[in-house]
Symmetry: none
Subunit: 152 residues, 2 copies
């Protein structure tokens, strides 16, 4: 079995055991326990615990730091929002983003103020400092991140 799969399995197990379904871990500790370099933990997190797969990750550096993984995906019958998260690729232009949000609002899947917030965050207006080539990637990531946050 691949190392990454073992790490993923380990984290999944941690989440099942916790009563709140969250896994909180210390990167270096876990890396040591599983015999891998610390950065491999990051690799596993970014490749297997993405918003598309229904996970939200928070972390803190520094003394007493941690990584927390939360699952928001409902096991079956994916929520409509989750469906959108999966439908969005890794790139998204402003017009499409706007259409998606407006559609979610129309379907009453999100509130009006949520829609306003999301439109503001997805419009090119705020991306002045982001290189053009990266804007659509950022937009896609932002939309997915925000929708995932709404579900949990």
């Amino acid at each position: 079995m691949r190392l990454s799969d073992e790490i993923a399995a380990y984290i999944l197990r941690m989440m099942e055991c916790a009563d709140d379904g969250e896994a909180e871990l210390r990167r270096n500790e876990l890396a040591e326990e599983l015999g891998c370099v610390p950065s491999q933990i990051n690799y596993v997190l970014t490749s297997r615990f993405t918003p598309e797969q229904g996970y939200v990750i928070e972390s803190r550096r520094g003394g007493g730091g941690y990584i927390r993984i939360r699952r928001v995906k409902l096991e079956r019958g994916m929520s409509p929002l989750m469906h959108t998260v999966n439908a969005v690729g890794n790139s998204l232009n402003a017009a499409t983003a706007q259409a998606i949000v407006q559609n979610l609002l129309y379907q009453q899947l999100i509130s009006k103020s949520s829609a306003r917030l999301m439109l503001a965050a997805l419009s090119d207006q705020a991306y002045r400092d982001v290189p053009m080539e990266q804007r659509d990637l950022l937009r896609a990531a932002l939309l997915k991140q925000m929708l995932t946050a709404l579900i949990s």
Copy 2:
């Protein structure tokens, strides 16, 4: 639990107990009671009781010195949000952004789901495609954009 968190919790408790909602303490005394060096109290104050988080601190040195921590109350209505927009510079790190949003939520100026959305949009998680040097600029722009959207 981190020492700093214990200190912060202790101070929060003091504020809750006081009828005026203020906490007044003597640095050395508190340090002794919590088993830390006095300057750690300052660290906690500057890292967790900042103006962004809605606190004001006064203190006096010398005999009979003290430290007083107060929560500032923002007026209701839209103006506090506008005030926040104006107060945010053109660069904003993740920790400060989080503190600002959490404070807005605490003061009931934004809803819980708005806070969640904003936190998701302001966390570094979604910025993987944005060069490090631009992240704080983007974050500031995003926060201002989103708050402005809430106002209008």
